[in-house]
Symmetry: C2
Subunit: 80 residues, 2 copies
């Protein structure tokens, strides 16, 4: 079983990296791209963790290490 | 219309950031997490770009700026 955790900054939190990408896109002529936000995606294998235990385990990983819940949101996808 | 571009390192490319996360997870007792890979996700608004033009435009942004196609794969999702 595999897990994919997507971590993005909460609304209202400044995203200088996203802003830099936006400026670069505009510089290349892609003026239609706006409101650029950059996040992280972390993928990993869960070995033979059961389908029942996986959501709680990954949730715990997110709150303890992967995401800074003060400024970041996370979403979890479990893939077979 | 919004676009989400997910960028991940190609298989075989070393991922020291993923390795660091893996070690930290093991240190916290999450021994089931293995083969950790970290990627990026870039979300942005495409304004009133039409559904027909959007895929080609985002593809062009990826190859020109967002992804380093020598070592990275990218996937594009378009959201209404």
């Amino acid at each position: 079983m595999k897990a994919r955790v997507t971590i993005s900054l909460k609304n209202g939190v400044l995203d200088p990296q996203g802003k830099a990408i936006e400026n670069a896109l505009h510089g290349l002529g892609f003026d239609q791209a706006n409101d650029v936000r950059q996040g992280k995606v972390i993928e990993f294998d869960l070995g033979n963790t059961s389908k029942e235990d996986a959501p709680a385990a990954v949730e715990k990983m997110c709150t303890q290490l992967l995401a800074n819940t003060v400024i970041e949101n996370y979403s979890i996808e479990l893939l077979d």
